[in-house]
Point group: C3
Chain length 203, copies 3
């Protein structure tokens, strides 16, 4: 198992936790929490695969995703208080997950000869759409549209990947540099409470 | 026409009614009600087919679905009061519909060599996703995530089907046992007002 | 570039503007506004292509869509006040866009041997689903389900197209007649503040 797959699995597990936490917040029942855990973890990759036409979608072909999500949901339900205390660790793994999802989506689209701007969007979609579906199903305005700036980090990471790849660095170097870029931006952003400007139109 | 197809049609018709009732509750107009009737009836099967890559989606290849949905919407609009009085009958047909949708989704996935846990999810998706989309479009927290427990009944039914199939019973027997299991669980659940526990995480 | 493609591009641009205006209303940030601009512009066509199984979806194969949407979003953010003053012009282009999207969806489905009622639905989906996703992501009841009647205009336009095509008129004539029908209905509807009746069911 290569590093990308390992972090893909970790990302899936952490996304399932994040979904379950949101579900708990909305006082959903066990089934609802499990479903939200699932869509948070696989929603982004599914939309990417569906739009690219690469079906059955990826998580349906590898049972590890299924068990990792079930594990993420159960761990959150059983050890909820403890999980909440690990916020910093979760944040780190969540960011790694986002970075890895971005790379996986980007690479997959490029392999299918999708043009570069669209391939970047497919990387972004893999990373953020799960959270958007989670919030929409929970009847909330998607967090990423008005507060968290990790989308910007993903786009920057994707551009770093493309640039390093273009100048001929080998694959692992490109990937590590991308992950480091995304983590660095996200930490700087959160530490300094940086937010994108709101769009305001006054009549 | 075999029994499975007949009940698939009945389920489609009843789901269209349920969608229209929700739309009426939200004071949507005729077009909105028709659209909600459609997504309630075909949303689950469509997501299943899209994720499995079996497109054009099933309901697009059989006009009967189209007319059954239009009929369900019109009947509800014209005979609304009367339809509301048939709650018990509707509940029964709704449950049969859910059971049949579960079986259809499960069998379809198994035929495409999807592994068993994912195939169960495809059965579940066929049965519940229409209602989830209905509630999300109507700007409500999906009912099935916090109140109705029919998802549990579907999963139990799918496991019964798999078990009976595994020990070699013939197809109609497996299907009837599945439908009976789902109906029985759902009636017991509703009669006794059983709900899944809520997920609660206290900091 | 033929006329249909030109108006498809204009429609995409105007839909991106409409998405950005809704996002501004919800006080989303730049990223959120861009995403809403995107889904408004390409959501309908994407769902159509996904349900028909024609993937990668159309906008992923033509970079012009990408730049037109980015342009629409930026123009709205930078010249917001000015854009708001152009309401009548926007309304006209929006209606042309809807008409063209309807024709494109309808023709595509017919070319894939989809039956006529479903093909009309694919035309409708191309025209209205982007707005439905926009409103749902922005946590609003979709406008088109309870106020704007342009769906009715699309269906009427699709029927005009089918009829003229059936009696053997040539393609451009059919298309122009369809666009004119849709624009005419929509103007009459808006001028006279016509709304579809609400669905009401009293117990």
């Amino acid at each position: 198992m290569n590093l990308l797959t390992l972090f893909d699995y970790i990302g899936t597990f952490v996304f399932a936790i994040s979904g379950t936490l949101t579900a708990a917040n909305k006082r959903l029942d066990f089934f609802g929490a499990t479903m939200i855990g699932f869509v948070t973890a696989v929603g982004g990759g599914s939309l990417r695969d569906i739009m690219l036409g690469d079906t059955p979608v990826a998580w349906m072909r590898d049972l590890n995703y299924f068990w990792l999500i079930i594990a993420g949901v159960l761990v959150t339900i059983v050890f909820g208080k403890f999980v909440m205390k690990l916020k910093k660790t979760l944040f780190l793994f969540d960011t790694i997950g986002i970075a890895v999802f971005t790379i996986i989506g980007l690479k997959k689209a490029l392999l299918m000869d999708i043009n570069i701007p669209m391939a970047v969007m497919m990387g972004l979609s893999s990373a953020v759409v799960g959270g958007v579906i989670r919030d929409t199903l929970c009847n909330e305005l998607p967090l990423i549209f008005h507060r968290e700036v990790y989308a910007t980090a993903c786009i920057a990471g994707a551009l770093v990947y493309l640039f390093l790849n273009y100048i001929g660095l080998n694959e692992p170097v490109c990937e590590i540099a991308t992950v480091v870029t995304i983590i660095a931006i996200r930490i700087v952003v959160v530490r300094n409470d940086i937010a994108l400007p709101k769009v305001e139109i006054k009549e």
